[in-house]
Symmetry: C2
Subunit: 374 residues, 2 copies
Amino acid sequence: MTAKRHLSAYGYEQTKALAFTQYGEPKDVLKLHSHSIPPASKDLVTLRFLASPINPADINQIQGVYPSRPTFSTTLGAPEPTAVGGNEGVAEVLSVGGNVKNFSRGDWVVMRLPGFGTWRTHAQTTVENLVRITDKTDLSPVQVGTASINPCTAYRMLLDFVSPNPDKNDWFIQNGANSGVGRAAIQLGKLWGYKSINIIRARADEAETERTKNELLALGADIVITDAEAQSREFRSQVAEWTNGGREKVRLALNCVGGPLVNSMAKILADSSRVVTYGAMSRKPVSVPASLQIFKDIGFDGFWVSRWAEAHPEQKAKTLEHVLQLTREKKFVDVPVSETRWDYETKGETLIEAVQGTLDGFRHGKGVFVFGNT
Amino acid sequence: MTAKRHLSAYGYEQTKALAFTQYGEPKDVLKLHSHSIPPASKDLVTLRFLASPINPADINQIQGVYPSRPTFSTTLGAPEPTAVGGNEGVAEVLSVGGNVKNFSRGDWVVMRLPGFGTWRTHAQTTVENLVRITDKTDLSPVQVGTASINPCTAYRMLLDFVSPNPDKNDWFIQNGANSGVGRAAIQLGKLWGYKSINIIRARADEAETERTKNELLALGADIVITDAEAQSREFRSQVAEWTNGGREKVRLALNCVGGPLVNSMAKILADSSRVVTYGAMSRKPVSVPASLQIFKDIGFDGFWVSRWAEAHPEQKAKTLEHVLQLTREKKFVDVPVSETRWDYETKGETLIEAVQGTLDGFRHGKGVFVFGNT
């Protein structure tokens, strides 16, 4: 945290940002942009980023297919309106203007809303855009920088779409269980008394599938199966076996995949349960049989943590604090990450490759920029 | 209401019931069954039916494809377990046993739950199965006998899935607008301040389509269009026009059809609105795009008035009373009916034809058995 600063002759921060001026594939439109930031004055704070993840939604945003648009502005000193990639991250306060209250040098902050642009070494902003981390004890930048989106998504879906006091025999089921949200749901569900049936995509390499299963079991998953197993004829009777002949109920389904796999999940739910969709990795729609809706009262909802955070800013801050508290107590383990170090000298192509790599095939762990000597 | 009674030498009520011993097509499995009922004693009441509608769900129940099963019993005096068709209806109390409180001769009653079997001239039962109509002033048997299912369905969907205090510019949209539920929704919505976009199926005979449009407009519909119009490219811009450039919001969609028509409705909803499915006339599932769910927070629920009534018996009784009150005040008009009179002498084939006719093509008005001299 005591990185060397790169200052100009006038005390301006020499900064870099991974930015774009038009929508397209990251490798085609992202450029590493250099500019400088004057000392923070009045209501402004200057931030130095510590860790910023690369989420799939960040890629969709650069492609122009994500409903939450980035902020295009000329404040980077570029000749045309430019947006900085990335929506999540943690930064350290380097300096504060004279009017700033409640934020001090050395504080850690995360972004209140998406669209801030977190793939940059530094930023200058007003404090309305920031949430201060009240206690960073025993937490790493990667832990804090990846807590806002995936763990909060899992947290709210498990609490807001079922009873917050599950019976000790209640279950939930999810697909994409290996995702950041999936791993968070397994752990939070376990803490709150839910058992879980977890569906993962079968890999060509069986040993890889087995390894993922074991990872999720170690996190607290009760059952881990492949998508093929979930769509097999035996699935229903297996569920009955796991749930003590159906005496235990599956009360929630979390879906980030889409397509017919969702029907397999919906069919084994207890009456009056909900299927919550927060992603669509297969790009296939969910086909809902009317009978499930009418006669079993199965509801199909969507969840988008950005919308929720915008509507419930205080609850968002509390949720994040709770996730960080659980992390600190080692009750909640962050996802495996694949770090890309970003120093002052790091080349643009290295950074852009890290972004593009999120799109291309499998990578073990979530991509994160970890800022070093910037 | 002072029909001649058909009593046996021992004072037994000579009664008839349209009944079946196995599932199948109504014309194949329904038989007009004669039996007799002893005088009501102890906790029993004897009922004489006044009006019993023929709902499409009644047919599905006879076909064995409806989740609410009829009650098969040997109380009709038949050699094998026999079920009586029909789930809705109004009856008059003919006599009460000595232990019966709060019900008297001459009272009108409706069934608390489906599965009672209402296509019969008489029945004997305990009062837990009945809801007493507290005020039948100015109401006809057909009005009371058809109020439990369709109007209550529309009533709850309009109240329970959107704010009960709509802004005066709020809209809802529905398909199958010509159905009993659809007609009830138009009228109740209007009373509660909702404007409505109503989708009907285009008939081969254009004059017929036009006639239906005019009927719904006369009930209070703001817009009536055909399914083809709702699926046209211009639909979205037309909705914008109707809703004052989108400043007025469409906050609810009611679906009893299914298939792609539902997507046309869902796409024009305001963020965080719900699509409520209560039927599936096209037998096609609803295909839900994830983006509508996640980014627009459009939820897809089902509604089944039988389940709701079972869970909320008091609210059900109040809802029914309110519908009847609105009917009495002429604020709510019952659906057009196609009456089949059922007298002591009426032949089984006439009655069975009336049931089968509900399946075959279009009939203007809802089929209802109106009991005469039984």
